[in-house]
């Protein structure tokens, strides 16, 4: 999928979880549910959950990833995951 998605998602911009999204931790990571779109998403590990939850506290998604211990080698995978979440309106850019 996601070369296009990744291109539309800017790691250096500030992001946050959408107001209509609920996050439920699960043994495998977390479930996200968007009450507006009625769509469900899965976060497949605890690190991506930590990144998503801390987005609002960081000046950029890149900084949230670094703070959660994402290595430069792993960063593209996290960028793709975040791009998918942005594409489904689970996260949105902060003004």
């Amino acid at each position: 999928m996601s070369t296009e998605l990744a291109a539309a998602f800017d790691l250096d911009r500030p992001w946050r979880i959408d107001d209509q999204v609920a996050v439920r931790p699960e043994p495998f990571g977390a479930l996200l549910y968007h009450f507006g779109t009625r769509r469900l998403s899965f976060l497949k590990n605890a690190t991506v959950l930590a990144v998503v939850r801390s987005l609002a506290e960081h000046p950029s998604a890149r900084s949230a990833c670094a703070a959660a211990g994402v290595s430069p080698a792993a960063l593209p995978a996290y960028e793709r995951a975040l791009a998918t979440l942005a594409d489904s309106s689970m996260i949105r850019e902060r003004a």
Partner: protein, 407 residues
């Protein structure tokens, strides 16, 4: 055990902290008497949960972060406190999707529903024409559903669901259903007919024939995510790959049912004591049942795959639907009765001898109306027979070439 990290599906098979998809049937009372009703609904059960008890359940769901409930019945809107309970749930961050035959969806209700992001509506319709629909749902039920859809559409409720159980008689109408949904700004949802409830008696005459299953699969594949399926057709995956969705049996793992009297079953299609996990009226309420029920622990443990393990398609169909097997008298660790490889047909033949001995489990409890119901469909089977032994397997009804369909 290998060190390979578990896939998402494997994680789901071990169970979640709370259900993703919780069905809550609020009442067994219903104005209709559909011949395939999965919960054998009709009469209200006097032990039905009170308003206060329902509110307690909602409080629990909020604490467990159950994002939304699928409310059904019976016909849930005939409960006098129905709209209050919907408001209570949404005020407590539990979204509501409710299934209805449309009887109470008038203009005012439709306007009110259209105003909330947290409410979704699912109108049940089992024929794209009145003759096909009313034959299973009862005279006038097509008109009622269409009127409700018109009200929702006029109120600007976009994306409500048109929910269809696929049968032998409506499988040729898939394009018409889609057009009907599109014309009302609705989304089509197709689900599988199970031999549950009164469906146990009518399934042999109503379930799609093997060649129709192939048509259905191709149609679903062509329409992708535009059409919802409630993840109910994963037994068709061996035709050529998974359909959108989780593609696993979620019973006790990601789904379960709370029935009108508070009993918790592993899945909405398995209302039988063998799948009864506990009651929301028990100590610890629903949360304790979900977390601690021995039945759910068993369903979340690794499954053997049984007779299906040696089949090359086991990884795609996962053995099919537990309820479909159970209520056709098949072993739970064997093939689905509608296995597209044809193994279900063979198994049904073998189970035919069990049926002859009366060993096929009967769905219970039964809240069917005892007397006649206005507009009641003419039974498609000849002679209702609650206690009589099931006739031998209908394997002879199946296409003899079914075993060669995989190609």
């Amino acid at each position: 055990m290998s060190a390979r990290p578990a896939t998402l599906v494997e994680q789901f098979e071990r169970g979640l902290a709370a259900p993703i998809c919780l069905t809550w049937e609020l009442t067994y009372a219903c104005n209709l008497a559909c011949v395939h009703c999965l919960s054998s609904s009709g009469r209200r059960d006097p032990r039905e949960l009170s308003t206060a008890e329902c509110q307690e359940v909602i409080d629990t769901l909020e604490r467990m972060q159950v994002f939304y409930v699928n409310i059904g019945g019976g016909e849930p809107t005939v409960r006098p406190d129905f709209w209050d309970l919907v408001d209570y749930a949404t005020a407590h961050h539990v979204g509501v999707k409710f299934s209805t035959n449309g009887i109470r969806i008038d203009r005012a209700v439709a306007r009110r529903l259209a105003g909330s992001d947290y409410i979704d509506v699912q109108i049940s319709l089992d024929g794209a024409t009145a003759d096909v629909n009313d034959a299973v749902r009862g005279a006038g039920s097509y008109a009622t559903a269409l009127r409700a859809m018109a009200h929702l559409s006029a109120a600007g409720f976009s994306g409500f669901k048109l929910s269809v159980v696929v049968t032998r008689h409506n499988v040729s109408q898939l394009d018409e259903f889609k057009a009907l949904a599109d014309a009302h700004g609705a989304q089509l949802r197709l689900t599988r007919l199970r031999p549950s409830g009164r469906g146990a008696d009518t399934w042999p005459q109503l379930h799609p024939l093997p060649e129709q299953q192939r048509v259905l699969y191709d149609w679903l594949t062509a329409h992708g995510e535009q059409v919802l399926t409630g993840d109910s057709f994963f037994h068709l995956a061996p035709y050529g790959g998974p359909l959108p969705g989780l593609n696993l049996c979620g019973a006790g793992r990601v789904v379960c049912l709370i029935d009108p009297v508070g009993d918790v079953y592993a899945c909405p299609f398995a209302i039988h004591e063998n799948f009864l996990a506990g009651s929301v009226r028990g100590p610890g309420g629903f949360a304790a049942v979900w977390r601690d029920s021995p039945l759910f622990a068993e369903l979340r443990a690794p499954q053997s795959g049984g007779a299906c393990r040696s089949c090359g398609f086991y990884d795609s169909c996962r053995g099919g639907c537990m309820a479909a097997k159970f209520f056709t008298g098949l072993p739970l660790d064997g093939p689905d009765p509608e296995c597209v490889q044809g193994y279900g047909t063979e198994a049904l033949l073998a189970a035919g001898s069990a049926a002859g001995r009366g060993d096929v489990p009967r769905p219970a409890p039964d809240h069917s109306h005892r007397g006649p119901v206005r507009g009641q469909p003419v039974p498609v089977t000849i002679g209702a027979r609650p206690a009589a032994p099931r006739p031998p397997s209908r394997a002879c009804d199946e296409n003899p070439l079914t075993g060669f369909a995989a190609g």
